[in-house]
């Protein structure tokens, strides 16, 4: 089992003491992103394979990837989506919850990449705590989004319509 809430608690625990190391702060930021990633993946699996067996749930959860999540998040924030997704887009676009989630995904991906790979990144525990809060907020936005809207968004994240390289 991969529990998104556990990832968030782990992220908080890494910087929730007096003297976190730079490794603690980096891992905390990285785990914050993964809390959101697994939250999206869990939500997608519940929607698509809610009544299914462990194999079906695993298939859905393994189908989520970072690049597709980024693409749909970027499109969600635009006023007019790109050609690939436009035919499936809700009239009027996605609402505030999924827009906030999308912004958080994009920001958390940038934070996570820097924390995991960029030796020049300077990050203190306070920054990591802000990133923890951003992840917590993103998970709440996903949970509170209107269900039909959330379901469409999750399908767009999981599925790739034909016609795109």
């Amino acid at each position: 089992v991969i529990d998104a809430v556990e990832w968030l608690l782990h992220a908080r625990s890494l910087v929730g003491h007096d003297s976190p190391t730079s490794t603690d702060t980096r891992r905390s930021i990285s785990a914050s992103y993964y809390a959101v990633f697994h939250s999206v993946s869990d939500s997608a699996a519940s929607f698509v394979a809610g009544g299914g067996d462990a194999g079906q749930v695993r298939l859905i959860r393994r189908s989520l990837n970072h690049e597709r999540l980024r693409l749909v998040s970027r499109e969600t924030l635009k006023h007019v989506p790109g050609r690939e997704l436009a035919p499936f887009w809700p009239s009027g676009g996605f609402g505030d919850q999924l827009r906030r989630l999308s912004q958080a995904v994009l920001d958390l991906q940038e934070f996570r990449h820097a924390a995991d790979y960029d030796p020049a990144m300077s990050v203190d525990a306070e920054t990591a705590r802000v990133v923890n809060d951003l992840a917590a907020s993103a998970m709440e936005e996903l949970a509170s989004a209107p269900s039909r809207e959330r379901e469409l968004w999750l399908l767009l994240v999981l599925l790739r319509p034909p016609g795109r390289a």
Binding site: R100, A104, D107, F111, A114, S122, D124, T127, R129, L134
Partner: protein, 95 residues
């Protein structure tokens, strides 16, 4: 994709911060033309935030800031994302 010149981006950010940031929360900032992890042009906003007021740097504030700048950029056909990177320096270090 057309890119808004940096001084105009800075004006957008300054206006957004003036309207959206709690007074005195941001000590200094700078915006940089950047490339994101995926290799696409982006904008990075480096913010020095008052450490003693860090709870005021909320996800909601960060979102409203990005929305304001995104709208301004989109109006000019610029689709770059703005990513905010807050830091919380000790006061002595920035005075």
């Amino acid at each position: 994709m057309s890119h808004v010149p940096l001084p105009d981006v800075e004006k957008l950010v300054a206006d957004a911060l003036r309207d959206e940031a709690p007074a005195g929360l941001i000590m200094r900032w700078r915006v940089e033309e950047d490339v994101d992890w995926w290799g696409e042009p982006s904008l990075s906003l480096r913010l020095d935030v008052r450490r003693d007021r860090s709870p005021e740097y909320t996800p909601d504030f960060s979102f409203r800031l990005a929305e304001r700048v995104r709208r301004g950029l989109a109006h000019a056909g610029d689709e770059r994302e703005l990513h905010s990177f807050p830091r919380f320096p000790e006061r002595e270090a920035v005075e």
